[in-house]
Amino acid sequence: MATSVNYGYVNARIRGMKSRLLGRELLESLILKPDTDAIITELGKTPYREEIEKAAVQHAGLACIEVALRMDIARTFRKIYSLFKKEMDEKYARILLNRWDVHNIKTILRGKNIHEPSSEILGCLIPAGQLDEATLVELVKQPDVRGVIDLLATWRIIYSLPLTQHFKEYSEKRDLAVMEYALDKFYFAIALDTIRGNTDDDRIMREMVATEIDVTNIRSVLKMIRDRIPIEEAQEFLIPGGAVLDEKRLVLLVKAGTIKDAMKQLAGSPYEFLGQVPEETFKQEKISVFEKELERFLIRKGTGWFFGDPLSIAIAIGYVWAKFTEVTNIRIISRLKMADVAEKIIREELVYV
């Protein structure tokens, strides 16, 4: 009973936050703005005001918008995390947040791998995850890849496990991807592990994570077909635990040989829509077109949770997706606007309005 009461509070706050998301009209008005400065002014009248003002102190133009958006995402996610932490079990929020941690760790490893200066690496981090700024700064201070991993281990941060295990392989092959795959798989494994329970929330969260795994796998399969990766290697790039597509089925997809045939095999699954992209996309093997469709699907599904059980994790999932989409859309608009791209194309590029 206790949780449902808390959900009343948390979800009411999240709904309140949702009501401050910008509507379609505002995005439309941003598209119609003449230049970047006008977009900044317009955003200054929205809930982004504080971030825009802060960013404007150090940046101008596009950088100002992008920095503000990044700060906003970080702030929003941390807020949701602290709401969950205060009011109930934060394990769900952790799943939502940890993808930023994975991004940050990867970026640090990549940067250390090529000995990029610390300031460059720090500039690419988004402290929206569980690893706070202090941790990230200290990690970046380490001299090399091994140092980063060791520090993670010293601080008992779980991501050191897959990294340590694959460090040897990495240092033999000098190929960072080895560790990245390990990290990615580890993230999903941990996520699925936390929500193995039988509660409604676990079920909802599981569905979302599993769908994400599906989408990621389909994307990987498409890339594999395109680059003619031998089937034996395929397993390495696939994540177990998808909602509809298990490993066997995915291997079958890779075996199909052409994207067209693979997509035919998806008929009857929720991903049937991929078969309906324009014919020439199959020939050109343009992954990004499929990807866009997949992302739209995921976002629709994600934001669709708003209509789920009002006293469950569904609302938070819906909000996170909606927020993320909004930020992406604003970024697309402002960047393409600066590059003087026609309004029609901008509208096409928007992830989901």
Partner: protein, 642 residues
Amino acid sequence: MLQKMTKVQVVGPKTDLQTVVDILYHTGTVHLEDISKTITPGDTILRRLEMVKGGETATLLAKIGGIILALPKTKGDAGEQVRLGEDLQRKNPEELTSRANQLIDQLESTTRDLATKKSDLELNLGSLSRYEKIIEKIQPLESQLPVLEGFEVTVLLVQKEFREVLEYIQAALREITKNQFELISADVDATTLATVLIFNKRYSEQVHSFIFSQNVNEVRLPSEYMGKPFHEILTLIGERRKEAGKEIAAIDEHLQNLATTWYQELIVLQRILEDRNAELSVFSKFGQTEYTFVIMGWVPKKYVQKTKKALADTFGARVIVNEIDVPADKMNAAPTFYDNPWFVKPFESLIQLISPPKYREVDPSPLIALFFPIFFGLMVGDIAYGLIILAFATVVKRKYRMYEWLQYLMNILAISSIPSIFFGFLFGEFFGNFGEMMGWIHPMTFLGITWNRIDAMIPLLILAIAIGVFHVFLGLSIGVLNALTKGDRHHVCDKCGMIIAITGLLVTIVAMTGIIPGILVNLGIVLILVGVPLIVYGGGFFGVFEIMSTVGNILSYARIMAIGMASVVLALVANTLGGSMDVLIVGILIAAMLHILNIILAMFSPFLHSFRLHAVEFHSKFFEGGGTLYSPFKKSMEGKNE
């Protein structure tokens, strides 16, 4: 009453814009409309007027906001702020800007530096405690280690599932260091093993490069702690923490000092600059052509002449004020301007709590002003309570003049206490039955009923329901009126059908109980049969279910009687309990406490429920809301848009 509004368009040569704006600002009658929203980007003739000098103020505001953010929260000193405000208001814009710049120069870099330093220190503290955690875990191992000169210590973390690697490492180390090493392991937690390794410094390089290739992690410590014994590191960390804490405290104090000196002025300056910004941002609402400007706005009909005259006095025919004919159905866009007598004013704020009415709706505030105090009075219904509430409201009103909302609230309470006293006479209540016990006062007899609230429960219930019927019917009638103004046939039918059906239902029920001739049951059924199709036509099939909810609404008015009852019973308990005490003073004390409790409840509960009866039961019958309030363009504009 809602005032009639006229849409006006002011057109003039661009050169006069500033003066025109000034005059409109001083006249303070025009509710500006944002013209830029109606301009499509392709429009070549009418363009949006760009804000002049807005950027500068906005930058100042952003910087000042940043400084205020960095300073610790300080209590606003109203008196000081008023004094500073008057001081600053007297300055002209240039002086104000330079004053702002002066403050920014003085404070910005300092505050920013301090804030950065503080956050650095805090980050430092954060990572220190992370290091501390692991060192505490492995410290116990230290005592088992020999302290040797020329030896190096390193700590390995091993996953328990891979513990066999330790044996391999041991063997390899024996080889590398020619057996000059020591190795001790202990659990860190359920999954991890810590191994302290001590070896001759001579082999440092080989050992490290060997460990490097193994499936274990080396504990990493900041370079300044490297090679020190753990207990020493812990002390160092402790010292560092204390130091950082001191530094933070020093920074806080510094910031606090800055805040005591500057905070009030910064706040006032921010407010003034915000005002100015709002004034400037008004320009972006205007449209322009090559040589002229266009201002759109709404003016209350009674002020149109005044506005026109103000402009004509300065510009003659150069600036034109057009009254634009707005078709009736477009008038919904007009702002809502109440112009109610003083005793209705407080109740407007109640409606605004939810949403101001649209321009074409009937203004519900006079009705609230009438019914709210009656409901309140019926529920409280006690002379003494009414007097106390009145006194309370007056005192609070005096004491907290600066809180506008509190003023409204207290006005409502004060107005509502009058009917409470009146109904107190009717019910013969003074601290419940205390007045009656003392023989000071008795319930009046009226319509053949003695209105003692405990005895006359049923009549009171009937009275409450009757009020409900009346109130709901009133609501429905206003709904019909609103629908008629809007020319919405469906709604008219819906509401009329509802009135007829409910009447039918009531007639049937009353007739069945035999209070009125039983023959009227037929009439009731006929009425229902007439009403239902009307509802179905107006509100669709599901409209029929509305009948039930409307009946529920009517029954909901029973709360008038119920809350009153609760209040009476509690007063009764207070008196009885107080009276049954042997010691007089204790009895009085207990009675007083209970009465105080009851009065607090009486202020809260009847208030809430009268409000609720209006918001839920009454408003749902006609009120749409969602209008914009009339906020003319003038100094200290209503609401800072947020």
